[in-house]
Amino acid sequence: MNLNPFWSMSTNTGRKRSDGEEQSGEQQQQRASPARPSFGKKQLPSIPKNAVPITKPASPAATAQLANGTHASYGPFYLEYSLLAEFTLVIKQKLPGIYVQPSYKSALMWFGVIFIRHGLYQDGVFKFTVYIPDNYPDGECPRVVFDIPVFHPLVDPVSGELDVRRAFTKWSSVPHGPFLQLDNDTALRNHNHIWQVLMYARTVFYKINTMEPLNPEAAVLYDKDVQLFKSKVIDSVKLCNSHLFDQPKMDDPYAISFSSWNPAIHDEAKERMFSHKRRPEDHHKGLQVSGLSWVKPGSTQPFSKDDNPPLS
């Protein structure tokens, strides 16, 4: 896996370092509930420890040297923001039972976990990783690889990779290379998003498809001997769940890891999650909002609210 190092463009070293210190804490919360990654708090991810950016004070000589023969490019920014936009879309979709978190090291790698709540795979908790091609959005469909190969017709029994391509035969990100100009409408209506891939990864566990399987054994069993298939699935689910508390496969601070419930750590986080729902109202009442409006809802006249003091 080629980790695109463009995260390291962050210059915010001082700031991010403190983030790094908090990481252990954040991770704990992740374990308790990987519900919402702490995405909103950052503008750009931190500089990974192992990918050292060349940072130095901008003494003119040094700058000139560095700049020599290099060319500026905003490409990484576009990629970064496209992925961030994708990620915000994922959050917005609120996909049931699916949680993802971009890796610390690369925006092109997202860690995820999927909870299956009913059906053949009920109680399954499958960790997976999404690999996004580095020429995104112009490249291929992102890949989804389960940490432990689940027994499933569409999951490769060796690599754990889910056959996503069959659902996105044409990953149509074509119109939106930053420098391509196409009619906006087509661009916006026909392109694919990463959340759709995640959605697909969930669907395969509820609607089993045995066409052109990656795991022929599973496919055959499902068609011929559902009972055996079922028991194999149960074994597979058990296996996956027994590895749930293992160290994450990937050595990444943002990798999703589970730990058993520890009230000292998790109770507070849980508390916060539940109180989160009440916040919008509090927000309106308690906090002094800096904006102003005297426009009556439904009106487009200024100062149309009824409670305006009369000026004459």
């Binding site: 500026a72 920014f77 426009v295 439904g298």
Partner: protein, 934 residues
């Protein structure tokens, strides 16, 4: 005498307290009675009536006071007797102060005695009987201040204590002596503190007597004359009044009394008018770069400081007072200050005066924090019409004046946009965008779409001029940072954001550069723009949560709203209708037919007064109040001692002679207005018609050109050619506004003339003509002239546009930032203007050999400017010094480049602006979906 009390207070008290500590109450009582007996002996000796019953005393008091002077019975009182009384009194008072309350809050025996024997009232009458001079008053005031402030049990609950106090206070009301005034206010302040702590006293202060009808709140009335006073006295009075104001919020009776029976609100509001009239009508502008009144500027203008103090006080009153008082005050400020004073001032005859008023208005808006008061100012700006022209339209049109007035007007709009106020944004821009007819019909559903792949950012950045592209000459990093920050520190009204910016800057202070791999040079500077954009957008988004609608092209619905629903004002008779045959006119001339919509309130306000009457003439009662207020402000409050009805006090004040100054003043104003009218209107009608002709001719050519080539560049060139002569610099500052509008068809005049015609033509105009509003048009016009604009104008312009672009409303966002949006041909977009600028720059760069060198020099110069500005920021504690620095010489320049090379500076700025916009576009694409952060 007075000093004796004061000294006794200080030195004696400590000794006494020590002595008293061990003494038992009974002994104290005995001492007290002994002393009092001595005092009574002397008192009765000089009392012609030989009476010691309190009922007679009360009658005496009234007589004594209503005759307005000292009453003397039986000749002068010998000095030794007077000082003997004084000595005894001191002791008595100490004993009274030191006494603790009895059990369960009962009176202590000394207090009981004081109440029963009516001690305080008899002492007051005694001082009246002697020469009731200022010294005597001072002595009495100090006496009360001492016992009220230091007594260990509540004294004011008892009428025999309270009544002489009230008599004393009222007898002091008209006094001119500054010492007495100071002491009076200090005592009043103290009483207010007591009131605020113990509301039960309030009832007693409000001595309502059925036969007199009106409730009387003397303390309050006495404080009013000091509202606008300078210095400590004024401050104490205002503090005391604020205490009463917050009392009024909970006490309906106090609120009602203040609103109905006192002149508090009118005095306060019209006092602003009085103070405003003493402000300099022309500011000494420190330099061309100057565009708004900073703290260090106004700190050096005492009159302005005083005005701001009073404005701040109004703000505070509105914040704490009962809604009745608040509404009344706001209404008086509107009708007694903004409309009759500020509106005419905004239309004074010379450029300088108008510019000064605009700068004041900007400062006032920045100084006001209470939403209700802000609303008053804003509705004045947005809805009020002066001589049939909306203030807003006038202000917008002035952006286009090539003089400092244009810059100052820009700064005002920067302030307004920074308020995150829906009403402002609605009137300035959104109302023109809501109908969605600025875009092709098919584009409506695109309004809400997000730019997932940074397409717009890429397109904007692609406009980077080749001479500035990082590939050619990688700019020194700090240098470009500095441009960003300088824009940030330039008059940003949003201090919250500023702080965060600074933190960020510090963290990153050493200016790191980053290299990805060994190949790609990343513009670190761009990260700063992204960070900044994120801050700006999220604080704006948070602020806009209180807005009534998302403005996303669906809500408010485009069909129902028409951009021009306001009733057309009657056509001025002198203007002729040029028969609007051609609908395709340059956008920005439409300014005046699409003014703000009148709200119900404002409509009634306007209909209530005859429309033809010049607004410079305020209603009679307002003039009257203003007169009163001005007299109060000028300290000519007269000596009258009728305390029964405080309304009468003001009546008397009003009758005093200071009237002269005011009438003179208002005559001057009227004269100005008259001048102004004649200057503007008579010659303009003709010129205006002529201009209209040229205009339509031009537009016809433009229309065909456009149809032929389909490109936007020819439009720009012709357009620019047309505008250029207009902007040719005349000598700034000293140009008289009237002469300016006489000779040449300058912009301001165009507007005036166009205004007249448009008022009539507008009604026949089809509503579907795409138009994004005068404000956007004017901004884009000025932006298009970027290469000719001075640096500071460009900083303001780009600052405002970036501010607008940070607004999260999809209508605004799609209009400003979505480069894929397809607009109606006649609508000019920001992107088009930027593209035309790029072409202009490329052309310049290709014709001038030394252009790259100049660019580098300009970058260095901006860097130096930045660091000098930053240096000032760090020394904020000494604004004077900072102010001097700014005003003196321009910062040192490593390689000399004249600021007159505007095209060079503009090029550097343009490049930075592209990054800023692109960063905002990118941040929008990811922020819009994220649930609100904390």
């Amino acid at each position: 005498m007075a000093s004796m009390v004061a000294n006794g207070n200080r030195d004696g008290r400590q000794g006494e307290a020590l002595v008293l500590k061990g003494v038992d109450p009974e002994t104290c009582m005995i001492v007290f009675k002994n002393h009092w007996a001595q005092v009574v002996k002397i008192l009765e000796k000089h009392d012609p009536l030989r009476s010691n019953t309190s009922s007679n005393m009360a009658a005496l008091g009234v007589i004594g006071l209503s005759s307005g002077g000292p009453m003397r019975f039986g000749g002068p009182i010998p000095g030794d007797e007077a000082s003997a009384v004084q000595n005894y009194v001191e002791h008595i008072l100490f004993l009274l102060m030191e006494e603790d309350a009895g059990q369960a809050g009962a009176m202590g025996p000394i207090l009981e005695f004081v109440v029963m024997e009516n001690v305080m009232e008899r002492l007051f009458l005694w001082s009246l009987r002697r020469q009731f001079t200022d010294d005597m008053k001072l002595e009495q005031l100090k006496m009360y201040e001492m016992i009220v402030g230091q007594a260990r049990q509540p004294l004011l609950h008892h009428k025999p204590v309270l009544r002489p106090l009230m008599m004393l206070l009222s007898s002091c009301s008209g006094t001119a002596g500054p010492e007495v005034e100071a002491e009076l206010v200090s005592l009043l302040n103290q009483l207010c503190c007591v009131l605020a702590k113990d509301q039960s006293v309030l009832e007693l202060f409000f001595h309502t007597s059925e036969d007199q009808g009106a409730a009387n709140f003397l303390i309050f009335s006495l404080l009013i004359p000091f509202i606008h006073r300078e210095g400590l006295v004024g401050q104490q009075a205002r503090d005391a009044l604020l205490l009463i104001m917050s009392l009024s919020a909970e006490n309906q009776r106090v609120a009602q009394h203040i609103a109905e029976n006192t002149y508090f609100c009118p005095v306060l509001a019209t006092g602003l008018s009085g103070l405003y009239s003493s402000l300099p009508t022309k500011l000494e502008v420190p330099g061309e770069e100057w565009h708004c009144l900073h703290r260090e500027d106004w700190l050096q203008m005492p009159t302005l400081v005083q005005f701001l103090n009073s404005l701040e006080f109004c703000n505070a009153v509105i914040q704490v007072a009962h809604p009745n008082i608040r509404d009344q005050l706001v209404s008086y400020i509107y009708n007694g200050f903004l409309v009759p004073v500020l509106a005419p001032a905004l239309h004074k005859p010379t450029l300088e005066e108008v510019m000064t008023t605009t700068a004041y208005l900007d400062l006032f808006v920045r100084s006001v924090s209470e939403p209700v008061l802000l609303q008053t100012f804003l509705s004045f700006i947005l809805l009020h019409r002066h001589e049939n022209v909306h203030i807003l339209d006038t202000l917008v049109s002035r952006i286009n004046t090539p003089f400092q007035l244009g810059t100052v007007s820009l700064a005002l709009f920067q302030t307004l946009i920074g308020l995150y106020c829906e009403d402002v944004m609605l009137q300035l821009i959104l109302r023109y965008l809501i109908p969605c007819n600025h875009m092709m019909l098919s584009q409506r559903r695109v309004v809400k779409e997000r730019d997932f792949y940074s397409v717009s950012a890429a397109k904007i950045l692609a406009l980077t001029p080749s001479c500035c592209s990082p590939e050619h000459s990688p700019p020194p990093l700090r240098q470009l940072d500095s441009i960003l920050w300088s824009k940030g520190t330039d008059n940003s009204p949003n201090t919250g954001t500023m702080e965060t910016e600074e933190t960020f800057l510090e963290e990153d202070g050493s200016g790191y550069s980053c290299v990805i791999g060994s190949e790609i040079y990343l513009d670190v500077n761009y990260l700063h723009y992204l960070y900044n954009a994120r801050l700006g957008i999220s604080s704006c988004t948070r602020a806009c949560q209180v807005w009534s609608a998302p403005y996303d092209g669906e809500d408010p619905p485009p069909e129902e709203s028409h951009p021009h629903p306001r009733p057309r004002p009657p056509c001025p008779p002198q203007t002729t209708d040029p028969a609007p045959t051609n609908q395709l006119e340059l956008e920005w001339d439409d300014s005046y037919d699409a003014g703000p919509v009148v709200s119900p309130e404002a409509a009634t306000a306007e209909s209530s007064k005859p429309p033809q009457l010049p607004a410079a003439e305020p209603p009679k009662h307002i003039q009257e109040m203003r007169r009163t207020a001005i007299m109060l402000v000028k300290g000519s409050y007269i000596e009258e001692s009728d305390f029964q009805d405080d309304v009468m006090v003001y009546d008397l004040v009003a009758k005093k002679d200071a009237r002269d100054t005011v009438t003179k003043g208002s005559k001057e104003v009227k004269a100005h207005v008259a001048d102004h009218n004649s200057n503007l209107q008579s010659p303009l009608a003709e010129v205006g018609d002529d201009l209209m002709g040229q205009y339509e001719e031009l537009i016809r050519t433009l229309g065909s050109d456009e149809a032929g080539t389909g490109g936007s560049s020819p439009v720009k060139t012709v357009d620019k050619e047309f505008r250029n002569p207009v902007v040719t610099p005349m000598e700034e500052d000293e140009v008289d506004f009237s002469s300016f509008s006489m000779d040449t068809p300058e912009l301001e005049k165009q507007h005036s003339s166009l205004f007249g015609t448009k008022l009539c033509s507008g009604s026949t105009r089809s509503h579907s003509v795409p138009f994004t509003g005068p404000f956007v048009s004017v901004l884009l016009s000025r932006l298009e002239n970027m290469l000719d604009n001075s640096l500071h104008v460009n900083l303001l312009l780009t600052g405002i546009l970036a501010q607008l672009a940070a607004y999260p409303q999809p209508l605004l966002q799609s209009f400003l930032l979505n480069t894929n949006m397809v607009f109606q041909p006649s609508v000019r977009s920001l992107y088009q203007v930027l593209a035309s600028l790029k072409n202009q720059i490329e052309q310049q760069a290709s014709t001038k050999k030394d252009f790259p060198k100049l660019i580098t020099s300009a970058q260095h110069c901006l860097l130096a400017r930045e660091s000098s500005l930053k240096g000032q920021d760090s020394r904020e504690c000494s604004p004077l010094e900072a102010g001097r620095m700014m005003k003196s010489s321009p910062p040192p320049q490593p390689k000399t480049i004249s600021l007159a090379r505007t095209e060079v500076f503009a090029t550097v700025l343009f490049t930075e602006f592209l990054k800023e916009l692109a960063a905002i576009a990118q941040e929008h694409s990811i922020l819009s979906h994220v649930p609100m952060e904390e």
